[in-house]
């Protein structure tokens, strides 16, 4: 690496309670380069960013900026040392104007009053450079996602950082917006700015980075110049040994003469329009699409959380869409929400209480009494079956993310649902738990359940599903199955909405990840 690093991190370690997020992280970012950090969800990328931003304090390790060892105890100190962080979840105030967002917390004053004119003057040049042509007095909520990302970027740039840190900056951006962001970043690099680009998207990292560091299990496992790396090398480093064993072999479905199915025809509402498909019992139907492509809306409709505006749906029980989640649960339709903490768990209550959610909470048959004894028995059964490392009366917030997700699955399994909608079931959990959850998905399908699986990881979809429906801007852009079911095809569809024209042989990719 040329020159002395502008920022370096050595032997960084960080634990949250019992969870090790970083164990021995090293990183050197050179001046005037774009350095990418890539790794799977849960590899520790976000924690690294939080440490650098001063949000959390590491347990051990050193951070050097320039030739000075620093302790970043707060976000103000991070700023002072010239670290500007742009977060993954946009931290803007949607109801306030662009200007108000740009200068939040340090509004320029004139005669003791906030001066918007001053703000405009200070930000004009920068916004022009970023090619952000928006009404700066309009609320940020009116902008599209790409513009919002640029506003956030501009907010950091206004403080002239020495190192710009971007945490999954384009997770909500479409192709065009991403290209624009990359152009901006290259321009910044040309002016001598260093950028730390944290992502789990291979394509993006290869498109933008000069150097790549791969993280796995809280440590750096590979650092090299991009030119010296192939995608296959990076994938290998990201997933390590688990690659082959992560996805269990397919199970053969129990042969049955009647195959119940869901038929969806011309379904519209929310962000989706004219969606049609059929899903049969015993198969896993994958759903892919960027955030905002409509898959979330589809799942909400199928679970009764959102009203449809048109189209017909027929569930295996012969009825249409449920009118409420309660009706859905009573009809054997389950949803595993993507946001497990907010929508899936009662964190301060026991495992037994949580696992009883549907049996005692949603269903209306059986006894009007609630028996803690029965709840504990049910919980013990699920804990055993799903290999959850805890006891029925322990509070759920004492569990690891993977075990928490198993609790959410367990509460549906207790009711033997006919249809399961899984919204990104392996998001943000440890590899071992992932494997167990993948095996469970297979098993549920084999037991005759209709499984609809949405995932943000194309490799999950291609490995677990029988077919994958790709959504793009609220429509089904294509269906991928059989020999076509490759990660690359799915990714292409997700980002462009079109099938790749010709399946020309690409650079050799490894094994099941291809």
């Amino acid at each position: 690496m040329l020159g002395s690093p502008i920022m370096s991190v050595r032997n960084l370690a960080m634990r949250y309670g019992g969870v090790v997020a970083l164990r021995d992280m090293n990183l050197y970012v050179g001046p005037g380069t774009i350095h990418a950090v890539i790794g799977e969800s849960g590899a520790g990328k976000s924690t690294l960013v939080k440490v650098l931003a001063g949000v959390v304090r590491p347990d051990s390790g050193t951070i050097r900026i320039g030739d000075q060892t620093v302790a970043i105890d707060s976000s103000a100190i991070a700023r002072k040392h010239g670290l500007g962080v742009v977060y993954q979840d946009l931290s803007l105030f949607p109801d306030r104007s662009v200007l108000a967002n740009l200068f939040v917390g340090r509004e320029p004053l004139r005669n003791g009053l906030i001066s918007t004119r001053e703000m405009e003057a200070r930000s004009r040049t920068l916004l022009r450079q970023l090619e952000l042509n928006v009404d700066v007095r309009a609320p940020v909520g009116h902008l599209d996602m790409g513009e919002r990302q640029l506003v956030e970027l501009a907010r950091e740039l206004l403080q002239t950082p020495r190192l710009l840190i971007l945490d999954e900056p384009n997770s909500a951006l479409d192709r065009r917006e991403t290209e624009h962001l990359f152009t901006v970043l290259r321009g910044l690099k040309a002016k001598g700015m260093s950028v730390l680009y944290v992502s789990h998207r291979l394509e993006d990292v290869f498109a933008i980075a000069d150097h790549i560091t791969v993280m796995r299990n809280g440590r750096d496992v590979l650092t090299k110049e991009r030119s010296g790396l192939s995608e296959a090398d990076v994938i290998d480093a990201m997933i390590g040994q688990q690659r082959d064993s992560l996805f269990p072999p397919a199970l053969s479905a129990n042969a049955s003469t009647i195959r119940p199915q869901i038929t969806v025809e011309g379904l519209s509402g929310g962000r989706i329009s004219g969606v049609s498909f059929t899903a049969r019992s015993g198969e896993v139907l994958g759903f892919a699409g960027l955030e905002g492509s409509g898959v979330e809306d589809l799942f909400e409709m199928l679970f009764g959380l959102r009203k449809a505006q048109g189209g017909t749906v027929r569930f295996p029980d012969g009825h249409g869409l449920p009118k409420s989640p309660t009706e859905a649960a009573r009809r054997g339709i389950g949803l595993l929400p993507a946001d497990r903490r907010c929508n899936g768990l009662m964190p301060d209550r026991s495992l037994a209480f949580n696992i009883g959610n549907i049996v005692a909470g949603a269903r209306n048959w059986g006894s009007r009494r609630y028996s803690p004894k029965a709840a504990i028995a049910g919980a013990a059964r699920q804990i055993d079956a799903l290999r959850i490392k805890s006891l029925p009366d322990a509070p759920v917030n004492s569990l690891l993310a993977g075990d928490q997700q198993k609790i959410v699955i367990a509460k549906w399994l207790e009711t033997a649902p006919q249809v399961l909608l899984l919204d990104n079931p392996a998001g943000g959990i440890e590899a071992a738990a992932k494997r167990k959850i993948y095996a469970l998905i297979r098993q549920m399908a084999a037991n005759g359940c209709i499984v609809l699986l949405r995932s943000v990881e194309p490799s999950e979809l291609t490995n677990l599903s029988n077919r994958v429906l790709v959504f793009h801007r609220g429509r089904v852009a294509g269906e991928v199955f059989g020999a076509e079911m490759k990660r690359r095809t799915v990714l292409h569809l997700i980002t462009t909405g079109e099938m790749p024209e010709a399946e020309r042989p690409k650079k050799k990719l490894v094994g099941s990840m291809a």
């Binding site: 309670g17 019992g18 969870v19 959380l305 409420s324 989640p325 309660t326 009706e327 859905a328 649960a329 009573r330 949803l335 929400p337 907010c342 929508n343 899936g344 768990l345 009662m346 964190p347 301060d348 209550r349 209480f353 009883g356 959610n357 549907i358 005692a360 909470g361 949603a362 006894s367 009007r368 009494r369 609630y370 028996s371 803690p372 004894k373 504990i376 013990a380 804990i383 055993d384 290999r387 490392k389 805890s390 006891l391 029925p392 009366d393 322990a394 509070p395 917030n397 004492s398 569990l399 690891l400 509460k411």
Partner: protein, 342 residues
């Protein structure tokens, strides 16, 4: 609260973290009550007279019933400010009907029904407008209070007919010495504790209060649970009002102030303000603590005008304790996890 049963052996080779025996949560408030009674009894031995204690129990019974209902509302992560005036209106209606010579049982039924109706108004507004109950009941609090004032003004106060069957029961003593209201209070506490912890309805109340969003995603009928709980609160308030001896004092503050007492008692007893957890027995103890303190204040010769101040202060003290306990529990959870994964 429901500590039961040896757990079945776990799969795999996980070491069993040692489980410590957990004491019932109501023990803390109970200890507080005992200490208070001891202190006041020591300072003013007359306090420990059987008659004095029974009258204290009776004073505790009316707001105590409201506190029992309030436990459900708080466990739902809501709060009902209108309870005092639902109580007052039910008491007024019953007294009017008795004075008009209506069958006492019918009058009592009408009072309870009125309470249920007022609770239904609260519940429908909460569910239909998707507003927090604290906002809705702030409005209905003022409305019910106004209604009570109007009703009193229209009726040129007729003292209740004391000869009715109901009045006899209400004013009579059961088993020789126990006032009826106390008997109903205790019976209600036992039944409601059971309902909260051993019925599907109670489970749902706790689930919705623990995380309303997760409850919705689990298919729990959250709207229905909210409605039912607020109606239950109305019924409880109505029942307490019906039992109120005679005509409620026309002073606008009678029954007002009960909401503060009920909320304070529930919180002192260990029901969490952040929802999801509640204990009826704790609320009963909490109400006794409130009453003991108030009567102690009187015995020590402090003017009763100080009462609201005292109740508020005790409630805040209980909240501070609750925070402390939560912080400790959090630490314990972290330690539990570390034991498990170390």
């Amino acid at each position: 609260m429901t500590r039961l049963d040896p757990t079945p052996p776990l799969a795999g080779s996980v070491a069993h973290p040692k489980r410590s025996f957990r004491l019932p949560a109501e023990l803390g408030p109970l200890a507080g009550l005992v200490v208070l009674v001891a202190i006041i009894g020591f300072a003013r031995p007359g306090f420990l007279d059987q008659a004095n204690l029974l009258s204290l129990l009776e004073t505790a019974a009316y707001p105590g019933m409201l506190a029992i209902g309030m436990v459900f509302v708080l466990a739902l992560r809501e709060i009902d400010l209108s309870v005092g005036w639902m109580f007052h209106l039910a008491a007024l209606l019953t007294a009017f009907l008795l004075a008009a010579g209506i069958n006492p049982w019918l009058a009592a039924f009408a009072g309870v029904l009125l309470g249920a109706g007022l609770g239904l108004v609260n519940g429908l507004l909460v569910v239909a407008l998707r507003l927090p109950a604290i906002v809705v009941t702030l409005g209905t609090f003022a409305m019910f209070r106004g209604l009570a004032a109007v009703a009193v003004k229209m009726q040129t106060s007729a003292p209740a007919d004391q000869s009715g069957e109901l009045s006899q029961i209400v004013h009579g003593k059961m088993f020789g010495a126990v006032p009826t209201a106390v008997f109903v209070f205790v019976a209600m506490a036992v039944v409601m504790q059971f309902v909260l912890h051993r019925s599907r309805f109670g489970y749902r109340v706790q689930a919705v209060g623990s995380n309303p969003q997760a409850a919705l995603y689990a298919g729990i009928p959250t709207g229905a649970v909210r409605l039912q709980t607020l109606v239950l609160m109305g019924i409880v308030s109505g029942l307490a009002g019906v039992l109120w001896p005679g005509f409620p004092v026309t002073d606008a503050d009678q029954g007002g102030g009960f909401e503060l007492m009920a909320i304070a008692a529930a919180i002192i007893g260990g029901t969490s303000l952040s929802g999801g957890r509640g204990t009826v027995i704790g609320a009963v103890i909490g109400m006794l603590i409130v009453q003991v303190i108030l009567s102690g204040v009187t015995l020590l010769g402090i003017d009763a005008t100080w009462n609201p101040f005292v109740i508020g202060a005790v409630m805040l003290l209980a909240l501070a304790l609750d925070r402390l306990v939560k912080a400790l529990r959090q630490r314990q959870a972290v330690r539990f996890q570390e034991n498990l994964h170390a």
